[in-house]
């Protein structure tokens, strides 16, 4: 068994919304680990994502901190560098489609609008992370990865961005207050700007 911390705490990005991301690497099913608290992976799966060059592998490689090792060996360090990330196009398309599906859903009815805003944020963040790693070869795993792409950063109003982020936290952690439904109607222009930003970066990804 190995346990690691990763995520915003390891980057020193602490705010009132921060939690501590924990990874547990185990051989078999282990009911000591609450999946709401730990990301639980087998050693086999960790080895696979290292071979795939998966962004999560790069995230762990660059930022994780070991908390416990049953054999006093830092397992992730023994794996060395992950392989080159080769699935940038597939992953960016996946997150682009996630954004489009959520945007479409939110305009059809309001029955899941907080969840849709939450998944729009997830799509934006993960899209930016995959683009940064796959095209720029820069590891950028911050919650605000979309705002840290230098000349290609997402340019959207801070109120809209903050509302998307807060919707994400509300949907995942059940904390905070929901934005009013009128937020969706009042910010269609901003959502279109986000879509255009993704369209432009996706063209670059497809042509790479």
């Amino acid at each position: 068994m190995h346990i690691y911390a990763f995520g915003s705490t390891c980057r020193g990005e602490i705010d009132i919304n921060s939690d501590i991301d924990l990874l547990a690497i185990v051989d078999n099913f282990d009911d000591r680990f609450d999946p709401d608290i730990y990301s639980i992976y087998s050693y086999k799966r960790i080895s696979e994502i290292w071979s795939e060059g998966n962004p999560f592998a790069w995230h762990l490689h660059t930022e994780s901190k070991m908390i416990f090792a049953y054999n006093s060996t830092d397992y992730l360090k023994t794996l060395g560098l992950p392989s080159e990330y080769r699935n940038c196009k597939t992953d960016c398309i996946k997150f682009y489609n996630l954004f489009i599906d959520s945007y479409s859903s939110i305009n059809k009815n309001h029955k899941s609008y907080i969840f849709d805003l939450s998944t729009m944020f997830l799509a934006i963040r993960n899209f930016a992370t995959c683009y940064s790693l796959g095209i720029k070869n820069i590891c950028n795993f911050s919650r605000n990865s979309a705002l840290n792409l230098n000349g290609k950063s997402l340019n959207v109003s801070s109120d809209v961005y903050q509302s998307l982020l807060e919707s994400r936290i509300l949907s995942i952690r059940g904390k905070g207050t929901s934005v009013d439904r009128k937020f969706v109607e009042n910010n269609q222009h901003e959502f279109e700007m986000i879509k255009n930003w993704m369209d432009n970066l996706l063209k670059e990804v497809k042509n790479a």
Binding site: D36, S102, S112, I114, I172, G174
Partner: protein, 96 residues
């Protein structure tokens, strides 16, 4: 469509079923904390049928995500079938 996107769509479908009823507060997600918040906000006991179904669906979706990583296709199909059956039960629970 990618399996990840399919799981998101499934969650969305569940939320739309729940939120089609008029509760004091909507269900915002299918994490354990979101379901607990929804139950607390609406005065619903955790052992109520509605909550039990939501927790079961959430658990199955979590395992589905795990199995998609391990690419065990038979177990994935079985979990997908279980989820569809639970969603049918959810529709009945929220329409009754």
């Amino acid at each position: 469509m990618h399996e990840f996107n399919n799981r998101i769509n499934t969650q969305r479908e569940v939320l739309k079923i729940v939120n089609s009823q008029s509760f004091k507060e909507d269900l915002f997600g299918l994490s354990k904390k979101s379901i607990e918040r929804w139950a607390n906000s609406n005065g619903i006991l955790p052992d109520n049928d509605k909550c039990t179904l939501l927790f079961k669906i959430a658990d199955k979706l979590f395992f589905l995500a795990t199995k998609s990583q391990e690419q065990i296709s038979n177990e994935y199909k079985s979990l997908s079938t279980d989820i569809n059956q639970l969603i049918s039960s959810l529709r009945v629970a929220f329409n009754s």
